[in-house]
């Protein structure tokens, strides 16, 4: 028996001993599934997470889009609305130019690749596959999609099972996230329902730029993560 096994046995025993009723109130009814059957865990797939993605919200209410945009502004994120891909490509070039970003890296999402392929020679496009840590640190902008938006809080939701966006949305000082207006959920609860069904090992919720108030409670953005979060809201035509 290893140390950790012995500790496991001791800790679980200590928990059970301490929870033993002492002649007062009995422990409440048992809400937990029997642990005799560890469930899907033993069968190798992450339990509770059904593989496969879910479709977009049937049709996000115009109200949700408005609220989402208002919340983005409230948390210090930028937002540009585009209709269709050609418009989005032009908007992306403008966003990057205005931000002064030249070295750009995009995720493996086909939409991002299509948009980046239209960028002119003013930009240096890094490839995600050949990117060393130092190269990544030298990039000025990361372009990804977001799987969901949350209207209630102005939050972007990124799922690792759908796209390699974990580092691109974090390391470069500018993060541009392309989000379909059809993928805006009303509330945090709605978004949690949706991500639970995709088997992502990493789900990231992003609300505005990286921020700190650790020095005299003065707000500074861009301390470890991006200073600028720009949402490119894509309306289907």
């Amino acid at each position: 028996m290893t140390d950790s096994d012995a500790a496991r046995r001791d800790i679980l025993r200590a928990i059970r001993e301490n929870l033993k009723p002492r002649g007062i109130a009995p422990r409440s009814a048992e809400p937990v599934q029997s642990t005799a059957d560890p469930g899907p865990a033993a069968r190798g797939s992450p339990p509770g997470l059904r593989p496969g993605s879910v479709g977009p919200v049937e049709r996000a209410s115009p109200d949700a889009v408005t609220r989402f945009k208002a919340q983005l502004a409230a948390v210090g994120a930028q937002c540009t609305l585009a209709c269709g891909e050609p418009d989005a490509a032009r908007a992306l070039a403008r966003i990057l130019t205005d931000a002064g970003a030249r070295r750009v890296v995009g995720s493996d999402a086909p939409l991002v690749q299509r948009l980046l392929s239209t960028l002119g020679h003013d930009f240096v496009r890094e490839s995600l596959d050949r990117l060393s840590r130092d190269d990544l640190f030298a990039c000025e902008a990361g372009v990804t999609t977001a799987q969901w938006g949350i209207a209630e809080t102005g939050t972007l939701v990124l799922e690792s099972a759908r796209e390699r966006s974990r580092l691109l949305s974090l390391v470069p000082p500018i993060h541009v996230a392309v989000l379909s207006t059809r993928c805006i959920c009303e509330s945090l609860g709605d978004a949690l329902d949706r991500v639970r069904q995709a088997a992502s090992h990493a789900i990231t919720f992003i609300t505005g730029p990286s921020r700190t108030s650790d020095i005299e409670l003065t707000l500074v953005v861009g301390v470890h993560g991006p200073q600028t979060v720009h949402v490119l809201l894509l309306e289907d035509v």
Binding site: N18, P38, A41, T204, V220
Partner: protein, 461 residues
């Protein structure tokens, strides 16, 4: 009495008290503004507490469920009875992975087990990456607030510190200070072999761990190095994925007054394919360190419902005056005053439960409705019970209170005693109570006498 001494030192520090007043007041205002937008705030508090209560009552099985699911998704789970074992486990992982530099995101549990010192003793450098923690580490100090660790330092002091340690040009510009830290820490992230984080919530039904933050350093810590070690107290587990919603509504609003912090990372096991981003290994260290003991009584058990938001610190009239260091423990403020003695044993910090006026402000702001004053009283009673078997002071105290009880229970005797006291003009010395307070002299006539006389007059007229 180190608390007594340290509290006095803090009270004499005008700069510290100014900083504390500013910070705690601002946090209080932000919190109030944030919860004003939530119509069902009280309901959310009740639901969150009910979830915690349910979990704690069945902690053994929720832990086993969490472990089975986390391991099923590729994580490795380690169990640690105490601080030393947890440090050994983490140092062992670092050594096996050949890690020389460890980057850390903010984790109160890692402070609790003194992980940095343990790693340093094995020749491994642990670098704090949260800006506040980084400042505190550079200064060789301890965090003084759960949410903003360097709350006690001015930007002038931080500028001098960065000038000395990072060689930056002295500047009072907070943006430049943050940029200097970002640059210095980027180099550390680039070379780090292992990342250590805490855990805010661990979901039993999916094996997911959730980490909240604002800076992005926790995301870097958990996604750049090849190995991620997540350290969590055994009480962090919650039953269902959907339960995250209510806690995410409560925690940021209570802590910083935000509707949501900038980032939440929900991590379930390790990456599925080599091409995926993220660490190759995820190790989850489950820490007991005195927590299972707290399950024994409903009063102490509620301590384990704490979600470490820090609202009770900002609301506490004692913390607001003396700050975190005077508590002499990793966890300061009202929650620290109940948590520390229970984690370390009463012998270590028996004075902390007395570091409160029992005003109840902590209970009012607690997002999971922990009745901190009740726990404080419970711990005080334990201290007294322990002392009762030893020393003449305890004996005198017991005699005094027995006599007090006897007098108070007998109206005639009470009047006679009070009459005597009034006749000789003495107020009994009440120890520490009267050391800092003036007890008003007894009135020449008692209220009872006045009342009887007054009634008489009314009846007579």
């Amino acid at each position: 009495m180190s608390f007594d001494r340290d509290a006095r030192t803090a009270l004499a520090d005008g700069q510290l008290r100014g900083a504390l007043r500013h910070a705690t007041t601002l946090f209080g205002e932000r919190r109030r503004a944030a919860i004003a937008d939530v119509p069902d705030w009280e309901d959310a508090r009740d639901r969150a507490r009910a979830i915690k209560d349910e979990t704690l009552l069945h902690l053994d099985r929720y832990l086993e469920q969490f472990v089975a699911n986390a391991e099923g998704a590729g994580a490795r789970v380690h169990w640690a009875r105490d601080a030393a074992q947890a440090c050994d486990i983490i140092a062992g992982i670092a050594e096996r992975r050949g890690a020389r530099t460890v980057v850390k995101s903010k984790s109160m549990a890692s402070e609790e087990i003194r992980l940095n010192a343990a790693l340093a003793a094995r020749g491994i450098a642990a670098v704090e990456t949260d800006l506040g923690e980084y400042i505190v580490q550079l200064a060789g100090e301890e965090p003084s607030h759960i949410v903003v660790p360097a709350i006690h330092k001015t930007k002038g002091q931080i500028a001098a510190l960065f000038a000395a340690k990072l060689g930056m040009e002295p500047s009072d510009d907070v943006t430049r200070l943050a940029a200097a830290a970002r640059q210095a820490l980027r180099r550390r992230f680039a070379e780090a072999d292992l990342g250590v984080s805490g855990v805010n919530f661990a979901v039993a039904e999916t094996g997911t761990i959730l980490i909240l933050e604002n800076e992005g350093n926790a995301r870097l810590t958990t996604s750049l190095p090849r190995t991620h070690v997540a350290l969590m107290g055994i009480e962090k587990v919650i039953p269902r994925f959907a339960d995250l919603e209510v806690f995410l509504r409560l925690l940021p609003r209570s802590g910083t007054g935000q509707a949501l912090t900038a980032y939440q990372s929900l991590l379930t096991g390790t990456k599925r394919q080599p091409v995926d981003e993220g660490p190759e290994e995820l190790h989850i260290v489950l820490l007991d360190n005195g927590r299972s003991r707290m399950l024994a009584s409903p009063v102490t058990r509620q301590t384990l419902a704490c979600i470490r938001c820090g609202a009770c610190l900002n609301a506490c009239p004692v913390y607001r005056q003396i700050g975190g260091h005077a508590y002499g423990s990793v966890y300061p403020g009202p929650i620290g005053a109940v948590l520390t003695p229970q984690l370390l044993g009463m012998g270590e910090s028996a004075e902390l439960p007395y570091a409160s006026s029992l005003c109840g402000a902590c209970r009012d702001v607690c997002p999971v409705k922990i009745d901190i004053p009740a726990v404080l009283l419970h711990l005080r009673a334990q201290t007294v019970a322990r002392r009762a078997s030893i020393g003449t002071r305890a004996l005198l105290e017991r005699l005094a209170f027995s006599a007090y009880a006897a007098v108070m229970a007998r109206p005639r005797l009470f009047e006679w005693v009070m009459g005597c006291a009034r006749a000789v003009h003495i107020v009994p010395p009440l120890g520490a109570w009267t050391k800092w307070r003036d007890l008003r002299p007894l009135a020449p006539r008692s209220f009872r006498d006045e009342w009887r006389a007054g009634l008489h007059e009314t009846e007579g007229s």
